[in-house]
């Protein structure tokens, strides 16, 4: 299978703080890959570096065979790389539908309507609330909106940053069902999670991050059974 995203030896700093240390990973077409780790392990930093919001001092990032380190974040969306940011970051004062339209900003105007229909099919709840201001949605609905918004750009690779954060367990299950459904429909997914149990159970492969380094990697099921991972992230 073709490599979709290839990240090699990136190092990212916040001032003097070395947040991401020589991280390498790759995502193949059609995979769900997850980066798990505790708070502060460098997961979000890694993701933001891929999406162009942060920059690595070293190494290389290739998306569909093209180097993308120096491509501005706003341009990458048009090339098929979409990110659902940590904390959802929906536009609180805009309606659900306006949020979705913003997700399709890079797409030709003629594709907005069919894309909206597609997203509404996936998330019927959003259709019910299309005229509602996003700030009034529940946390789970906002997560759906953030995901729907990212899908509006017809991404080839969807990057999700902590989609389960702050959600009730039943909603977490729902969100992961949606992730699997999107995957079955052909979207490649890079998933960053603190909820290692859920993430590893849906992922083809996983990378364990600790204080800015990759310490372990393997198929999701194997990591789920790994003693060290169990001890550190799965509560024994």
């Amino acid at each position: 299978m073709a490599v979709m995203l290839d990240v090699k030896n990136i190092n990212v700093y916040y001032g003097a703080i070395h947040a991401v240390k020589d991280i390498s990973f790759h995502v193949d077409e059609g995979e769900i890959v997850t980066l798990i780790g505790a708070n502060g392990a460098g997961k979000t930093t890694t993701l933001q570096t891929v999406s162009g919001l942060l920059h690595s001092r070293t190494g290389s990032i290739e998306f569909l065979g093209q180097p993308i380190q120096s491509v501005p974040a706003a341009k990458l969306v048009g090339q098929g790389l979409a990110q659902v940011p940590e904390g959802r970051r929906v536009f609180q004062h805009m309606t659900v539908e306006e949020n979705l339209e913003m997700g399709g900003f890079t797409q030709p105007n003629s594709t907005i309507a069919p894309n909206l229909e597609r997203v509404y099919d996936q998330f019927p709840r959003l259709k019910e609330r299309r005229r509602q201001v996003a700030g009034t949605l529940s946390g789970g609905e906002q997560q759906m909106l953030a995901m729907g918004r990212a899908l509006m750009s017809n991404p080839k690779l969807l990057m999700l940053d902590e989609p389960s954060m702050g959600l009730a367990p039943i909603l977490v299950e729902q969100i992961f069902e949606i992730i699997q459904r999107l995957h079955q429909k052909g979207t490649t997914i890079l998933l960053v999670e603190q909820n290692a149990q859920m993430a590893l159970s849906v992922a083809d492969r996983g990378y364990v991050l600790e204080t800015g380094r990759v310490t372990l990697t393997g198929p999701g099921k194997e990591l789920l059974a790994d003693e060290a991972v169990k001890k550190a992230y799965l509560g024994g």
């Binding site: 162009g52 969306v77 536009f91 609180q92 004062h93 913003m102 900003f105």
Partner: protein, 306 residues
């Protein structure tokens, strides 16, 4: 009847404040900065119209131009001023504010004040310190109730212009793709970038729109009180800033409401209380409003869900 004429006067003055306040509030909404040079862009707009109409009168139009020809030439001059000010706004942003995008807000504030002084002194150098006698773009007045109520055409034009601008901006930000992108940027620049929205060009566009509006305000204001000098824009600029804060900075309807209310308060205070104290009363009202509602009349506050 007297009260009505003061009221209309106030609404028209307030319309000018509202048009200027829109520039403050839009730029604040998107760049989170107070562009104190905004008032001086008004002055630049005034000078452009002044020189352009003089040029048109002396060289293009004949001795006895028809009403249509002189009207059209004025319109062209105003459009020219909007373009010049729009470009000026984009240049100011690119040269003075863009390099400070990641700097502290104090540095940006001081820079904005510096740009304001720079524009005033550049105008003094270029156009001289002597006040110019600005010819109002329209003259005459409407007489109603058998001469009891007189409304100048300038006042009417100002109110109409303000309403048209307000409706146009509301449609632009509510319906158009670029307008929605502007709102998205003003809420969350990082998330807007992840949507593929170019934040830098959106900020430039906001400066261009705000400054073009300042040009319109400049023409209307100089028609209202026809003295044009390098400091012409500074006091209305500060009052319009007050209007923007009064209405809730960052909110477009807030700027509109704040501007109109401020104009009415000023006109009524001048008429019934004291001309000298009118500014003091104005700012006292602002202080009271901010004490009661710190986000301004229409300031938005939605608690964030995590």
């Amino acid at each position: 009847m007297e009260f009505l004429s003061y009221l209309i006067n106030g609404i028209s003055l307030g319309s000018i404040y509202a048009i200027i306040a829109l520039g403050y509030t839009m730029v604040y909404g998107i760049a989170k900065m107070l562009n104190f040079a905004h008032g001086d862009v008004i002055m630049v707009g005034g000078y452009v119209v002044f020189y352009a109409t003089n040029f048109a009168r002396s060289s293009l139009l004949g001795d006895n131009p028809s009403a249509l020809a002189s009207g059209l030439s004025t319109l062209v001059c105003v459009i020219l001023a909007m373009v010049v000010c729009g470009v000026l706004g984009v240049i100011i942003e690119a040269l003075a504010y863009k390099p400070l995008r990641r700097a502290g807000s104090l540095a940006v504030l001081i820079t904005a004040i510096g740009v304001s002084y720079f524009l005033q002194n550049a105008a003094q150098l270029l156009f001289g310190a002597n006040p110019k006698n600005f010819t109002p773009v329209v003259s005459g007045q409407l007489t109603l109730f058998g001469g009891q109520l007189r409304i100048s055409f300038v006042a009417l034009l100002t109110i109409v212009a303000c309403v048209v601008i307000m409706v146009a901006l509301t449609l632009f930000t509510g319906r158009s793709k670029m307008g929605k992108a502007m709102r998205a940027c003003s809420e969350d620049q990082g998330a807007a970038q992840l949507m593929g929205i170019n934040v830098n060009s959106t900020i430039s566009m906001t400066f261009a729109i705000g400054s073009a509006l300042a040009a319109i305000a400049g023409v209307l204001m100089c028609s209202y009180s026809p003295v044009l000098q390098p400091t012409t824009g500074s006091m209305p600029g500060i009052k319009a800033f007050t209007a923007a804060v009064f209405g809730g900075i960052g909110s477009i309807p807030g700027a509109f409401l704040g501007g109109i209310l401020l104009g009415i308060i000023e006109a009524i205070a001048q008429a019934y209380i004291s001309t000298q104290l009118s500014n003091a009363i104005l700012f006292a009202v602002l202080i009271v409003v901010l004490l009661v509602k710190p986000s301004g009349l229409l300031g938005k506050y939605v608690p964030e869900k995590v």
